[in-house]
Symmetry: C3
């Protein structure tokens, strides 16, 4: 992207109202206005374009970006570290096993104790329904309180790196990928976008990717369809969000229990496994009661339930039924690839292979999306600041 | 704090003799002069005030701050990482499990191998009496030797992040909290400060917090009282330090085995559990002999011994007996809170809750205290340099 | 080193042809030209001299240096982190246990997912014959592809931090130590340098140190002798490399199964244990077949085989037979020291002690060697850039 195009992008940002993002957290995309969503895209694109042109976008001379991952992660972990580094923050991992969190510290206490010099806190807590989002809100309230009381010099921004409800850094990367693929957010209007369940031999994958996708992609006037076997329902609250989004954006949100119907004439397909919401609710309750026999039993039931839907696979035959046989295939990675990472899984190997590069690009937006979320929270006049950085033209690599 | 107040603070620092801190380590507070102690406070306050005003205090363009934690830690770990980052150093953790330390490396060898670009080494080694401080001295001697012999380009500064004898970054934060609470170090004169043992259902908490507190707070002319049940004596050498400090500062150092007597009319109370010194000595010996049955037996004895003193709890009733019923309650955190983190513990929940914000503030000084220790060791003319940074007014967040 | 000497060093670099190192990886020293090898030394020396004079050599304003260690490490780990930090990169560790690498990610996928903002990737993978080097090549191919396809904004450089074939950051540090010890690379001509096997009670030490040493030191016209008991052969391909190197450099490469013969009149001795190549091949195969009983059996055989060669120890008596009784003793550390880290090992304690400081110096080159490898890969005109940094004279410590 040349300098003129970057300037244009920054001017488009200046026309958007993103001021509520200043000193604010990023939990759920549907809490953000359309201007805030597209403003985040604009900042992400500008940061990326400047990096490509070897222009430093470092806005912090020092400061920490804390991360807390309660689940395994490669790409989100590295994306967060990359985003922090791009802006000048050093990542510090809160490893609960090395800390004294287990020994009588409350959320409120820990949140303050790690935040004396924290500008950002990124949290991934996606395992238990009803827990992750609530935990993030508690942390946010604690640091807000700490800041007001003079304990903390700054109020760290919280970035949701995946909770039980939403996975905004993923869905925003997915959406930006689509925006670039179709040449503009306005071109998503009328596109058929399918978020489909797919079979996986592993149990208990988080619902938040599917929820995040239908909760966000319904905002651009697209026809979003959620497809899954009976019993694999997502959270009803998120379905309601998708329905309202669609109504407001002039698109639609529909559901089907038929994968073939969903793929028919689709422009975009996103086939991915997840666990049923009600099962995850039950599991959370069993954990709460310490009923580990119950959990084992539930896991076996869920695996058996999954196995009844091995036909929910994204095959070449299904892909042929999409719009001109050329729907854009998406995945948050890693995927369960039939015959590669498992015997039978979410996707046929040849389909996956064909879309490998587009999927890597899809993933490549995440560091910039996270950096944009931080930028918009920390900079009062984002378009002015971006313009300043562009003009300063300080080299990232000397 | 406005700019004039910061300048005043820096001028007060200029009048103190801190030159022996240059290129020197920070092991025990009682090895430092009164000027050096209050100089550290002044630098810590100036660094904090500048950060609050968004002024960069980065003095390193590159360089590493090594950390070695032989025990779990949240706040000291994050405080150290924060301090390094504030000054421009990147933290690197020496994780003994991931390294080859266990495979035939000597302390001398490891100390040199990690220090080629290390400006600071922070160590926490508080578990075994007679070990931690000795280990830190060995590391210091090794890097001193490596520097003299041309192996190392710089001589890394050692910062004691808690040893078997002292916990200087904690006690200095505690003291700075008191200095700010009472409006100046001179106002500690004549105050009754109580370091009291308290009951905990966990065994073997380090003595170094209690020792650090009586070893430091006796230097300000306060009436420091150490309270504990019989059998919970601290190291006699540290009691002797406290006695001498009190004599020199015009305060007093007394002991009691009666918690109620200690709390009576106290201005400050610091009730916290620790293991008896003699038991820790015995434990160290048992470890040395690999006598794990002996250790198990000792642990059971200690827990039984603790349980005989459940009445050593900081209750509302006890707090009422302090000066005007309003003594400042202190704790290094995390605390054992009765009915919250354990059935019965060090402190009644309502007392703890009432002092939550002051305790968080107490903790908030630690990153700045550590940064000040590093600053004074690395900068030949600290007041000049601080003034330079203040004038340069480089923004921490652009 | 004074400024004039640094300028001279930079001018000597300007006369060397290192342009193929730009945007290139560093896998095996024998893939690099003599100019590239000595150019790496020149950059390493210049970076070190500038750091000694408190001149910043930071060329990155932001950026990540990824590390992936599949084996324990202290000095290589810290050397890599130090090198990254010296140039302005933040280290990010890819910890395969914390990531989803195990869950169906391919090498190609992971390589791209961690590289969105990675300027360098350092890998240590030395355990299985036929694996490490191949793995590194796969990673390199994956990021090359990702860069060409527009997934990555930059093409991260790969640095081999030890593979199954070579350990270039070690052998280059060893060589630079010799260059400085003898006052110039030209003075290695005609020196007798002995890479000797030595007894160790531990089994399965990597061959790559021995291979790296004979594969590199044969390039300077030295008489390199490889000594080991029968059955401890290294990879035949590397012997062939050494033979060709010697032919080209006017030196020699010989082998012996007699330690005493090797030490006789040696200028340099490098006694170190390693496992036999054929045994390592067999072990790799057993692992491939999941034959853990076979592995146990092999380990026992290897330990028994080692034990038959306890006389392969670097003793004072052997050292007396070297050139004037004063050969330079070398080791990559940590060593198995008889009576210190094990009952009987690679070296007599008094020999080791006498060479402690030289060995620490040998190790001290590694961070600068790694930094030089990165520098030459990232900077198009290395001598110009070094001169610029020297003239700019920005302070590392303010």
């Amino acid at each position: 992207m040349d300098k003129l195009r970057i300037e244009e992008l920054i001017r488009s940002l200046a026309r958007l109202d993103t001021k509520s993002m200043y000193n604010n957290d990023f939990f759920l995309t549907w809490e953000k206005s359309y201007d805030e969503i597209t403003g985040t895209f604009a900042v992400a694109q500008a940061l990326r374009a400047m990096r490509e042109r070897n222009i430093s976008t470092r806005i912090f001379d020092s400061g920490l970006g804390i991360s807390l991952f309660r689940d395994q992660s490669t790409r989100t972990r590295f994306s967060y570290a990359s985003a922090c580094n791009l802006l000048g923050l050093e990542e510090q991992v809160l490893d609960e096993k090395k800390s004294q969190v287990a020994h009588g510290e409350t959320v409120r206490e820990t949140a303050n104790m790690i935040s004396f010099m924290a500008d950002v806190i990124g949290i991934r807590d996606d395992m238990y329904i009803g827990k992750g989002h609530t935990y993030m809100q508690q942390v946010a309230a604690a640091v807000e309180d700490g800041y007001r009381e003079g304990v903390l010099e700054q109020r760290p921004t919280l970035v949701n790196l995946q909770c039980d409800i939403d996975h905004p850094t993923q869905s925003m990367s997915d959406a930006l990928h689509l925006v670039n693929h179709f040449g503009g957010a306005e071109n998503l209007k009328g596109k058929k976008i399918v978020m489909s369940w797919a079979y996986s031999p592993s149990y208990g994958k988080p619902l938040s990717v599917a929820q995040g996708v239908v909760g966000l992609l319904t905002r651009f006037g697209a026809d979003v369809q959620l497809a899954h076997p009976k019993g694999y329902e997502i959270m009803p609250e998120v379905e309601e969000v998708a329905r309202q989004n669609a109504a407001e954006s002039g698109g639609s949100f529909t559901k089907t229990n038929n994968m073939a119907e969903a793929f028919k004439d689709a422009d975009v397909v996103y086939p991915k496994s997840w666990a049923p919401f009600t099962a995850m609710e039950k599991r959370t309750e069993l954990y709460g009661n310490g009923d580990f026999d119950g959990i084992d039993k539930l896991e076996k039931e869920l695996l058996a339930q999954n196995a009844a839907h091995k036909d929910w696979e994204c095959t070449e035959d299904l892909m042929k039924t999409t719009k001109n046989g050329k729907a854009l295939y998406m995945h948050c990675l890693p995927a369960d690839i039939s015959g590669v990472s498992c015997e039978s899984g979410e996707v046929e190997a040849s389909v996956f292979d064909r879309y490998r590069i587009p999927m890597y690009k899809e993933a490549s937006y995440k560091p910039y999306i996270i950096a944009a979320m931080i930028f918009l929270s920390k900079v009062r006049n984002p378009s002015e600041k971006l313009f300043e950085l562009l003009q300063a033209d300080k080299k990232r690599v000397l």
